[in-house]
Amino acid sequence: MLAQRAVEIATAAGAGSAEALVVASSSALTRFANNRIHQNVAWTDAGVSIRAVIGGKVGVASTNRSGDEALTQCCAAAVEAARHAPEDPEFPGLPAPRDVTYADRVSPGTVSYDAAARAEAAGAIVEQSAVRGLTAAGGVSVSEQSVAVANSLGVDVAMASTSARSTVLSMGPDEGNGWASFSGRDATELAASSLGDQAATLAQRSACPRDLAPGDYAVVLAPDAVADIVQFLGWYGGSAKSVEEGRSFLTGHAGERIMSDAITIIDDALAPWALGLTFDFEGMPKTRVALVEGGVAGHPCTDSYWAARTGRANTGHALPAPNSFGPIPIDLAMEPGESTPDELIASVQRGVYVTRFHYVNIEDPLRATLTGMTRDGTFLIEDGRLTFPLRNLRFTQSAIDALSHVGGVSAERKMVGEEGGALAPYLLLEKFAFTGQTR
């Protein structure tokens, strides 16, 4: 309703066409550290963003102030910006309406998961560390979001979603750290005590870590670590813009084998595991995109602008306008294999098990060369079993090269992160370059 009203005001103010994006959210996060709750926050907000178009000229303005006066000022600001902006000869115009498949992504259990419920969950998590002489840090968060998009060509979509997340880092006195996380739509599915136990058990097991010489090792990556790789590939290489500008690992390789045939990386907002919207921030339906299918380079995702510029179909991956980043996949997944995590570990003669990575960054986008650290549960694998914990290791490794030597993919997968996260399996990579180790 508000989105349509904003479109009417913007067009009345002089926009040739107009689009309105309305986002309303209510979120809360209970953080704990040192076995106590040290931050506990809740906030609500609602904002409208107007994209005004005059010919090929575009201006955007947004506000979170409510009321007709603020809305009118915001619309006027967007129109004024459009009037003074230069023409973009390649701007295709706002997209026309298309059918959207909606999904029920609101969990009443998350909506009613209040401060008392979050504190109870945090207490159950902390208890698992405290009784073992460990300290726990992490959080329990819930969020409820409603998004509506309308434009003067008839787009008019709206959807709500909820999400819940909990993370636990358990730390012991002998450098033993353990990690566990939960992500989902329904906060009542959080098994807090079990999550706390998982992290605390891993912390106990990873006490007194040892050194490992730098070099190439086989690695078994747990889902949290795999998700980092999938996200970097998707965010930096999965956009039609980065492909067109020659900055993507997909550039020039469509249809070519670039990885092991065990690797398929997709983006699919309609999948049952997806957490967010089924339309993008232009109100276009999101469609499944295979960035890599059976090791073969696929196609990037698009929005209305980059679909028109590249002659591809609009896959529905627009971010809010104006968007200098380009279209982006935010419902990423790596397709499963058939192994169990234990089978992957059992097949490694000498290698490294990684629970998760820390502070990963990209050094070369074309080879997707990443560097980062391991943390919270790194182990040496010898003769098919975890033998002893390792101090955190630094890796400097091309993700493309690493995913070209795959020893196995697990059937089990886990959702890592909230919307914008990734569904990831365990993964055995036969060659992974560790270039350093922390003290």
């Binding site: 955007v60 947004s62 979170n64 409510s66 400097t396």
Partner: protein, 481 residues
Amino acid sequence: MRGFTAEVLDAAARAGASYADVRVTDTTSQKISVRNGVVEGVESSASFGFGVRVIADGAWGFAASADLDGDAAERVARQAVAIAKASATVGGHRVCLADVGAFDDTWSGACEIDPFAVSLEDKLAVLLEADAAMRAVSGIALATSDLGLLRVFKVFASSVGSYIEQRWTESRAGICAYAIDDGDVLPRSYPNSHGGGCYQAGWESIVALDLPGNATRIAEQAVALLTAPECPSATTTLVIDGGQIALQVHESIGHPTELDRVLGDEAAFAGTSWVAASDLDTLRYGSDLVNVTADATVPGSLGSFGYDDEGVPAQRDHLVRAGVLTGFLGSRESAVSIGRSSNGCMRADGWNRTPLIRMTTVSLEPGSAGSLEELIADTDEGLYIETNNSWSIDDKRLNFQFACEIGWEIRGGKLGRMVKRPNYTGITPKFWAGCDAICSTEAWQVWGLDNCGKGEPMQVAHVAHGAAPARFRDVEVGVGR
């Protein structure tokens, strides 16, 4: 606003808060971006709301809303107290705060030319001229130029008795030329990567950058990188430009000396620190040349303010003196753990976030090595690198790896062959122990950084670092080559 903030504080007290503060924040921003001659975005935005932070039953609670009308003061204050009471059910710890005075004051940052009053045409002219100059260099595949403006008005009031109004303006602009071929994407930025130059100042700061006048130079360097060799793998002497030193200070001194990290409050997300609170005044952080200050009073710096978000006055403090750890970045709560008063480092990213310990202007103080040219001339053999391209550091801020946009070999006190994609790695105290020269005041400048992420939910702070080029011995470069 006094009436509203008083209403909030009264409501919090009635609900059971033993301490409360409220921040009302009104921000206006504008962003303009140009890519290969096309104006990609012209965007303005406004955000307004308030946040209430309380202690009740000895624990923290925070609630925020964009709605200030009707019963909002009462409703949100009560919500914050209810949240605090829920916090108190886990752990049994009771929050204790270092004392702070009551201040009734106003503060404004310097701004000579209001950037919001400058016409869109004038702003676009700067960006488009720089864009054209970059793309006029043969071999440039992609050119980007952009600017961002921010205006903030913030009111803080607390149950201690403070009422503080602050307002400031920030301006940011930068350009980047990309040379791209089948195997390389090679960016070259000015005046810095990741957004360019950021200042607590007005339009005059963007004019002073002279983006068009520097566009051709960086574009030619980007193209030259295409045929430059890879940075070789070696352990060598490394000379680092001021911009990268700023980020090195940020990651390996600024973050590890944040007391909330030291005390474990950020352990699960950003990590902890290799430094312990008990290391104060004893830990050897680096060589005798290493002096690091945290200063919230530097004119024109993104790290400056009148009061932090706990109502603590802006201060200048030493974190490292002659290579020894002498201070931390602190808050009223964390300062108690080291027996000091707060040095005023608590800031929040907007009205809907609770304050965290953030850097102010955390600077490597200048040395006596003269200009960059004199430092190079004093170096027999090694590598000189400029402008950050990638950064990564472990959860205790010990093992780091940075990549830069460009480097040159140093031979016999002169710059030699250009190398592409130089990177280096190290362990924080060993690296800073190897610092044997820092350029002098004339080569020192403040580098703004407006993308410092920390906390959950993620908060992005605007901070700054004073830095001059410096030299480090026995550094591993060309990692993973």
